[in-house]
């Protein structure tokens, strides 16, 4: 008797709440859907805008061999404006290579220490410090490059100018390090603990376990971390603008000043006539950068996916 009564009441209540919940559910599904695809729409929108601005140059004006192979970037020349980005590519590439040479060993070492060796409070403090390092604005890094590194390099190496590949590479390396570290640490954390346990039970020390089991198992994730660091290096603008010397140059040593692709856009875009050839050329550099970072990120993503599957 009483059992039947409660069953009926339950069914009725369930019906009511199902109706209300159904609408709330639908509403939130809709909201979430809009939020979810908005990110995609924004990216597509940015790409469309950048491409539209640069399109005329890419399709009509461009001389591909000159654009990619000439080291002469002279957009404001009155009688012979030249748009060659080779020197800019060399600038960006040299800075990024040096930055990675600095950042990768330190970051991987830090990630290995945090994930495999540090315990308790040490680990927590280190993680917070690294997040703090990632949060320093790039203009502050640029300022450090200008105000501290510049005189230090001039004095230490006895060179005429301290705003150069070395300065910029070190700064950029420090900027990329926290990102590489935290992604690499995630990759190490993702290695199942049963592997470490099995290895230690076989008599391997902590370090042997790390070197022979954990690192091989996490190598894809670590590679992806390095690639994302490279992407960061390519995309960084303000610190590079301030610390690189910003002079068009095919560098022959780390003490040469260089100019990066990103810094060129940042410095020149405000001073060109909208729609002019120069303006369009800068957007073409934008398309070039966009494509490269897109490829780097997709590769990293693809590698991470691969490592999760394997």
């Amino acid at each position: 008797m009483s059992g039947q009564h409660t069953d009926a009441a339950l069914a009725e209540n369930a019906g009511d709440s199902l109706d209300a919940n159904w609408y709330i559910d639908k509403l939130f599904q809709g909201v979430m859907f809009v939020c979810g695809i908005s990110a995609v729409l924004f990216v597509l929108g940015i790409f469309a805008f950048v491409f539209a601005e640069g399109a005329e140059f890419v399709i009509k004006t461009i001389n591909w061999s000159q654009f990619l192979l000439s080291p002469r970037w002279a957009p404001t020349s009155d009688y012979n404006p030249t748009y060659g980005i080779l020197a800019l590519i060399a600038g960006t590439a040299s800075i990024t290579v040096l930055a990675m040479a600095v950042a990768v060993p330190f970051s991987l070492g830090a990630a290995i220490f945090i994930a495999e060796f540090a315990k308790g409070r040490t680990r927590e403090v280190l993680k917070i410090l690294i997040e703090l390092l990632a949060a320093i604005p790039s203009v502050v890094w640029g300022f450090i490059g200008l105000a501290i590194m510049n005189p230090w390099i001039i004095e230490t190496f006895d060179v005429p100018i301290g705003l150069n590949v070395l300065n910029c590479g070190l700064i950029l390396g420090l900027m990329a390090a926290p990102i590489i570290t935290s992604i690499a640490e995630d990759a190490l954390k993702a290695v199942p603990d049963t592997y470490r346990e099995a290895s230690e039970a076989l008599g391997a020390s902590r370090w042997q376990t790390t070197a022979r089991v954990v690192l091989p198992a996490a190598k894809n994730g670590l590679l992806a971390a390095v690639l994302l660091g490279v992407g960061r290096g390519f995309g960084e603008t303000m610190a590079v603008l301030m610390a690189s010397g910003h002079s068009i140059n095919l560098p022959s040593s780390v003490f040469d000043s260089v100019r990066a692709l990103t810094a060129t856009i940042a410095a020149e875009l405000g001073e060109t006539a909208v729609g002019s050839e120069h303006y369009q050329a800068l957007f073409t550099i934008g398309i070039f950068l966009f494509t490269i970072t897109f490829i780097i990120n997709m590769t990293a993503d693809w590698i991470i996916r691969g490592s999760k599957k394997g």
């Binding site: 049963t194 592997y195 346990e197 099995a198 076989l202 008599g203 391997a204 089991v213």
Partner: protein, 268 residues
């Protein structure tokens, strides 16, 4: 009584593992109370008891893998071949060379099958010993033959260990990789609980084959397995040893009421 220890290399003692007044805490929780045990050499000894009774804890104390947790505290002693493994001069690597461990879920390392088998050997060989490719191949082949896996995997030694192997075969692989360093004690923590009945039978058969040559301490949830696959049996309850006897006797006429109740399935 089983007498196969006689064929083994001569050893000072016929007791493989001896626990003396062993107490163990996880943080402030005491998991083991005054454990005193003597595990005979060359025999398969099983440990049974309900979940949380401490059987895995004892097992994991014998190769000190428990210490990975960092909050384990131990009083008393465990001796492996008369050597107190908690003595300060004991090296973990040496202990784990002598004592191999098989885990509940097969856990081949994410490296090639060949490298899995030779892993322990590479860790433990002296730096001045040189092993050629051929030497290593011979070691790997011997280990795989011992667990009856050689014919199945001989053509893909260099592919990843888990590729194309069933759980049963992976567990055999995990046993095989212990053998090249010539341990004296094998610890097995419910080695068949992830396997189907056919796999269980195959691995049990293998364990039975290994007795005599190795002293085996086997934790199991499965009383039928303890009965089939062990010569002596220990019943644990709430972190204490209740009974330790020959398996047949224990199951025929347990001397404690708790043992009888557990064996008959009244709890656990």
């Amino acid at each position: 009584m089983d007498n196969s220890t006689a064929t083994q290399k001569p050893l000072a003692s016929t007791i493989a593992i001896r626990a003396r007044n062993l107490n163990l805490w996880y943080g402030s929780f005491q998991a083991l109370f005054d454990i005193n045990l003597e595990i005979k050499q060359g025999m398969i000894t099983s440990m049974i008891g309900p979940s949380g009774c401490g059987k895995s804890t004892i097992l994991r104390s014998v190769d000190r893998i428990n210490e990975r947790l960092g909050y384990v505290r131990i009083e008393g002693a465990i001796e492996v071949l008369d050597q107190n493994i908690y003595a300060p001069e004991v090296e973990l690597a040496q202990l784990r060379k002598q004592v191999g461990m098989v885990f509940q879920r097969p856990n081949p390392l994410p490296i090639s099958l060949f490298d899995n088998i030779i892993f322990g050997h590479r860790i433990h060989r002296a730096p001045n010993e040189k092993y050629s490719k051929q030497d290593e191949s011979d070691i790997v082949e011997a280990a795989l033959r011992k667990v009856l896996l050689w014919d199945k995997v001989k053509d893909r030694l260099h592919s990843k260990a888990t590729v194309g192997l069933s759980l049963e075969e992976q567990q055999k692989l995990c046993i095989a990789r212990l053998l090249p360093v010539k341990p004296t004690v094998l610890l097995m923590d419910e080695p068949c609980s992830a396997l189907d009945p056919k796999g269980t039978a195959a691995v049990e058969e293998l364990i039975w084959e290994l007795r005599g040559e190795y002293s085996i301490l086997l934790v199991t949830h499965n009383m039928a397995q303890a009965r089939r696959a062990s010569e002596e049996c220990i019943f644990l309850l709430m972190g204490r040893v209740v009974e330790h006897r020959e398996t047949d006797q224990m199951f025929m006429s347990p001397s404690c009421q708790e043992t009888a109740n557990y064996i008959e399935g009244r709890y656990g």
